[in-house]
Each structure stands twice: as C-alpha cells, then as structure tokens.
C-alpha cells in the first residue's frame, strides 16, 4: 500500500505507541486502517507489541459474554460467512474469536463478497448443492424469501432471546418470517432517512418539511437562493434514481408514504397502479430536472451523497451511514444538518415510510452442527453483541432495549432519533409475499420507475398499469 510509504512518521508513531502500551488493540486497528495498513501488517504490530495477546474485551472491544452463553462446544467446528474484507471485518473477527474463547468451538470466519449480488450467487450455488461449506451466514433483509428452502427455523432461538429481555422490532422480525419459518434473526438494521440542512432552513426562514409538498417548496426556495448567491451546483434534493435495488427502496417510500401500499400487498394483491401510487410516482417524476438534478436517474447512494457532502443539496435521502460521515470533524456539514423521518404524502392513508434494510443471521439446514450454529447465530444477534456493534461500528440494533442503553446513546446520540423510524415508520419491501420472485418484482419496478424518471416513458398512469400486469404475471409463477 502506498500510504505505508507516504506516511512513515504516522506508522512509526503507531508502532511506538503500540510498543509502549499507549494504544489499545482497537486504537491500533482504527489508526492502522485510517493509514491504509494491510491486515497482515496490523497483525504484526499487534503481535510484536503484545497487545494482541490481551483479552479482546480488556483491549477495548466492548464485547460482553451473554449470560445464557454457557455451553461447551469443544471440538465443534463452525464456519460463518460474515462481513466482507473491509471496515466490518475486525469486529466480526473479534466476535468469532470471543465466541470461540467462551465456548471452546472453532469458528472459521469466511469473508463474504462485498457486492450483495455476488454474495447471493455464492450462497445459492453452495446451498443448491446442499454443501456444508458454511453453517451460519449473514443475509440481506430481502433474501429470506429467496433462501427459505435452505433455512433452519430460528423461531425458537428468537423466542429464547426475547425471554432474556431482548425484544426485536416486530416489523423487522416479521420481515424475516416466511409462513411459519423464521428464516433469519435480525442482526442490524437500516432505514431510509431524510437529511436536512438545518442551517439553510434557518437562513431562508423555512419550516422543516413534514410532507412532500412542503419539501418541494422548501427545496425550491433554498436552491433558488443559493444559486442566486453564486453556487451554480446547488440543488434542492438528491436521492437514488438509478435502475437498481436502491430505486425500488426510494419508490416504496414515495408510494407507501402517500397511502399507496407496498406495490404488492401481504395478501398478494398488486397495488402498484393504485391512484395514490400513481400520484406519488407522478410527483417524483416532477422532481427530476427541477428540485433534483437531471442526473439523479443514474445516482446510487454514493453519487447522491457526493452532492450532499459537497454542501450542494438542501435535502438528501439516504441510509443512516451518512450521519457519521457528515458529522465527522473534517466534514463541512458538521452540526449543520439533522436526520429524521422522510415526509408524508397527502393522500388519504398518508403515513411515514422508511424502507427497511439491514442484515440478518441465517443457519443452513445442511450444517453438520445445527445446534451449535444456532447458538452462534443467537450470539451474533444477542443484546450484548448488538450493543457492542452499535458502539464499535455505529450499526443500528434490531432490539428495542438497546436503544435505551446509556452507553449506546452516549456513543451514538443520533440513534435515539432513529428509534421512531424503526419503531413506527419503517416499511418492508414486499419480499415476504413474493418469496424467491422478489428480485423479479424489484427489477420490474426499478426499470419502469427509472424509465419514467429519465423520460424514456412519459405516461405515468399507463406505465404503472403495464407494470401492474407484469407484476401479476410474475406472481402467477409463485
């Protein structure tokens, strides 16, 4: 890595601090990754300095043994597919090591593919061959329907956790349940949020919008003002409009918040062409080239965040990860914005909507150690690990009680603001009712909506009627 050459002083300092015991294991990993050091080199620093030999908990990881984890798994070998090789890997490695230490089991940590599509391909190929290459694996919130046939039912495990005082958000849990099988246990969650430049609201004397109509006016006012002051690149609102899963998430928020349902209802009825849904999409089409840049039709998360992060957007729709980056010390946006619920529509059943994301733990029914694997899955989703994950990685817990924990709130005050979103505002994509056909449904949705946003189709009503018949024919394949 080039930075090892570029910043010798910083690396030397890190090594010195480690040798003198001035840096904990966590500090070393944090500072080391910031410097771009390879995992192998950081391992060497830890080993040479002796920090690695310390108990992970002492050295800074806030992992605590759950009381119920009192099982002897000596001789059992488990393989778990967890975070990809990146920011998440050290924490997941620490979890595996901690579990192994406490139970005597051997845990092989397999790093998952970074791209969700690649990871799903790996899972389906391995599971279709009924191979036991891995026992436990993390799955995206929309995969339970796809992977249900390979799942070991975890209902009992979730009940046991609830018995220990760890209650999962019902909306999130029910998304993981297909018929009577709890396919996976929620590990951490995500939801669409609205980021608002509060300094600009104040500057232009605009109220924080609670409906889409108010957002349009506010965005228009602020953008006109900023452009008039010479910032040509300023826009009112950015979101994700490229033809991919992220657009399905955005569109679900527009439609659901307008009282238009979830494209396909839990009972299988297709509602994507309801009047409320049509009105919601029609409204969004009007944003492109207006309050939102024309290029929004090719924006994914990071493209849209680029505009926001540069200080060139008044409002921004994205996942909670943006909060930490925007609030960082070197960010121009620090203390100039707020994160909250997305606006409501003005339809009859208008409600707040935040599309659920997140990852869950699943146990393969082809595992040779199903019981031990279930214990590991429970551990990864337990109150103790979720608390540690919230503090160490700023990922959002799926357990109600963690949001009341003083340590968590001290580390991430904004998670208090997320609670109402997960508790009442969240909406799940229709991945349960569509089961393994969810991706067909989603790609039909994002294709049509993207064509409408970019002007390849102009008749919203006709396009959504056509989409509805596509979805109906997909559902016939169930």
């Amino acid at each position: 890595m080039s930075s090892e050459v570029l910043m010798p002083n910083a690396v030397n300092k890190l090594v010195q601090d480690a040798m003198n015991g001035r840096a904990s294991r966590r500090d070393i990993i944090k500072r080391g990754s910031a410097l771009g050091l390879s995992g192998a080199l950081m391992g060497n620093i830890l080993r040479v300095s002796g920090v690695g030999a310390q108990d992970a908990q002492e050295a800074g990881w806030s992992l605590v043994k759950p009381e119920w984890l009192d099982v002897d798994l000596t001789g059992v070998e488990l393989s778990a597919v967890l975070a990809s090789d990146g920011v998440g890997a050290p924490f997941d490695q620490a979890c595996c090591d901690f579990f192994a230490e406490q139970t005597g089991a051997t845990v092989n940590y397999i790093k998952g593919a970074e791209s969700a599509t690649d990871r799903l391909t790996y899972y389906t190929q391995t599971l279709n061959a009924q191979a036991s290459d891995f026992d436990i694996f993390s799955v995206d919130v929309i995969w339970p329907g796809i992977l249900k046939v390979h799942a070991h039912d975890l209902s009992e495990a979730a009940d046991e956790l609830a018995g220990e005082g760890a209650n999962f958000f019902e909306r999130i849990l029910s998304n993981n349940r297909i018929e009577d099988t709890l396919v996976s246990i929620p590990m951490y969650t995500d939801a669409g949020c609205l980021y608002t430049r509060t300094d600009l609201l104040e500057k232009y004397g605009v109220e924080a919008p609670t409906t889409w109509a108010e957002l349009e006016v506010a965005a228009q006012t602020i953008a006109e003002g900023e452009v008039a002051e010479g910032n040509d690149a300023f826009v009112g609102f950015t979101f994700q409009g490229a033809a991919y899963e992220g657009l399905t998430c955005n569109a679900l928020e527009w439609v659901y918040s307008n009282g238009g349902g979830t494209f396909i209802e839990p009972d299988g009825t297709v509602t994507v062409n309801s009047d409320a849904a049509k009105a919601a999409v029609e409204r969004a089409v009007g944003w492109v080239g207006g309050i939102a840049p024309a290029a929004v039709t090719s924006y994914k998360e990071e493209d849209s965040r680029g505009v926001w992060q540069a200080g060139n957007a008044a409002f921004h729709r994205n996942w909670p990860y943006v909060y930490g980056i925007s609030q960082a010390d070197d960010s121009d946006l620090k203390d100039k914005f707020s994160m909250g619920l997305l606006p409501k529509g003005d339809g009859e059943n208008a409600d707040n909507a935040a599309t659920l994301g997140g990852w869950n733990m699943m146990v393969s029914k082809y595992s040779e150690n199903i019981e031990a694997a279930t214990v590991f899955a429970k551990f990864m989703c337990s109150f103790e690990v979720q608390k540690a994950r919230a503090i160490e990685r700023s990922l959002n817990p799926t357990i109600v009680e963690v949001y009341q924990d003083a340590d968590v709130l001290a580390a991430n005050p904004y998670q208090a603001e997320l609670f109402p979103i997960f508790d009442g505002g969240s909406v799940a994509r229709p991945s349960g009712v569509t089961a393994d056909l969810y991706n067909d449904v989603s790609s039909a949705v994002f294709t049509t909506v993207n064509e409408l946003l970019s002007g390849q189709q102009t008749d919203v009503s006709g396009a959504l009627d056509n989409l509805a018949s596509q979805l109906e024919s997909i559902m016939e394949d169930l």
């Binding site: 389906t124 490229a242 033809a243 290029a295 090719s298 680029g306 970019s454």
Partner: protein, 310 residues
Amino acid sequence: MASNDGAMIPKVSRFSAPPTKAGRDQERLGWVLILPTILVVLGIAIYPLLESIRLSFTNYRSSRPDRWEYIGFENYRKLLSDDVFHTAFKNTMVFTVSSVFFETVLGMIVALTIHSAFKGRGFVRTSMLVPWAIPTVVSSLLWSWMLNDSYGIVNKSLIAMGFDNFRQFSWVGNPNTALFSIVAVDVWKTTPFMALLLLAGLQVIPDDVYEASRVDGASKMQQFWQITLPLLRPALMVALVFRTMAAFRVFDIIFVMNSYNTSTMSVSVYAHRELMNNQRLGYGSAISVVIFICIAIMVVGYTRMIKVED
C-alpha cells in the same frame, strides 16, 4: 479424410496413416496425445454450452432446485414479446455497429501514423496502448467520474469554453446521450487494440510493392486504396471478427457506468440481470443462447468472407 477411403481410392491423403503396424501405432499415439486437449475442450467449452442450451428449455430458478420442468420453447416465445429484451437487443446492435465502425476508422488512422517513420515512434507506440492496458472496470469508473454532471471534468471544461447549457448536464443519465457516451468510452479504450492489430498487418506488406507503385507514379491515396487496403484485408478481417464478437457481448463497461438502466442495457447485461439478480437460470440461459447464436452467425459470415479472399 478417413483412412478407409484412402484404401479404396489409391490416392494418399496427407492425414491418413500408412496401413502398416507402425503407422497404426503412430495414429494411436496421436489420439493419445490429443486426448487431454479434447477432454479439456469438452469439459470447459462443449459441456457448459450444451448445459446452457438444456437449461434454456426449462423454467429452472436457483431458488427452486427441486421445482422445475422442461417447458419446450416457452422461454424463447417469451423473449419475442419481451420489451426489455427488444430494447437490449437494439442497444447491443447500435453499440456493436457504431463502436466497431469508429474503432476501425480511428484504429486505421493511428496504425498508418505510427507505421510511418518519425522521431519518438517507439514512445508513441507504447503510450498509445495505455487505454487498452487499463482494466475496463477501472476505466469505466474513471469515465463515470469525468462525465459526472456536477464535478466531472468534461462538463467543467465545456462550461469553461462557454457552453453554458452543459451546467449539470447528465451524459449517462440522459437517455439521448447515454448510449453515445458509452460508445465513446469504448472507442477510447479499444482503438489502441484495433491499431495494434492493423499495425501488425501493415508491417508484413513488403516495401517493394510501394516502390514499384511509386515508380509507376501512383499517388499516396492511390497507394492506400490499391495496395495498403487490399493487402491489409486479412488482418482487418481478423480484427473485425474479434471486435464484433467482443462488442456484441459487451457487459462490464455498461454495467459499471449505468447498471441496469434500459437506455443502455445490452443483451449481456440483461442476461446478467436475469441469471444473477433474478436467479432465472432458464430464462437467462435462453438469452445467452440467443447471444451465442448471433455471434456464431457473425463468425460464420466473417470466415466465409475471409475464405472468399483466399
């Protein structure tokens, strides 16, 4: 030719072994030596191809390993009325024809230029290859950033030159310019490859042909049309076969620059969506088989044209 025919008609074929024991042993040895190659080709080319064809007649989904059946030509019938497939096919044709055309014309100009002797030719020949040497995913991302509407250097330069209507102009997001932008990036990337193949062809044309024509008073243009182009045709044909095949299967550049947007979706991107994203192995295989057939037709057409030359 089979050796039986050779025995009946007293005409010795080059390929038939002599009807002696040593000859038969030699023939056997030949088979033994070629066997590994045959097995490898069967294993990595023929078997996957046949498997794709078989899958294309099923409704197999990888989420339903034990719930599938043969459905005959149903997938192909669906393809006929699939709007997304029609769009993807049209995009692929536009991409193939326009990218190969521009790459050939520009590649020819570049090849002729670096074929002539001038100072620093070695440096130019090497540096010319840089775009081709960059991995496609990297150069696609690079161009995505350069074409970005708000911070991209392309728009910034155009605005600096006084073209004010390129403010926040979205090259890839706008369906009218999206495919054109991607063709331009592909031309940027692949012209060096075309130039290299053509340069190799130019280098085998003997100089005395040019000298003879000069003596006869031919102009530079006449030399190009009457000598260079005809003698370059075999190399040009090979280059065209390679480029057309590769362009028709285009995936990475489009997927990186515009994911599944239908304004630029190629048939391979659509096959990827159905195979990988939607897990429809049956339907996705049918798309792949159609791509295979189209490419096979092109190859047969090109090889016919090359044979006619011979």
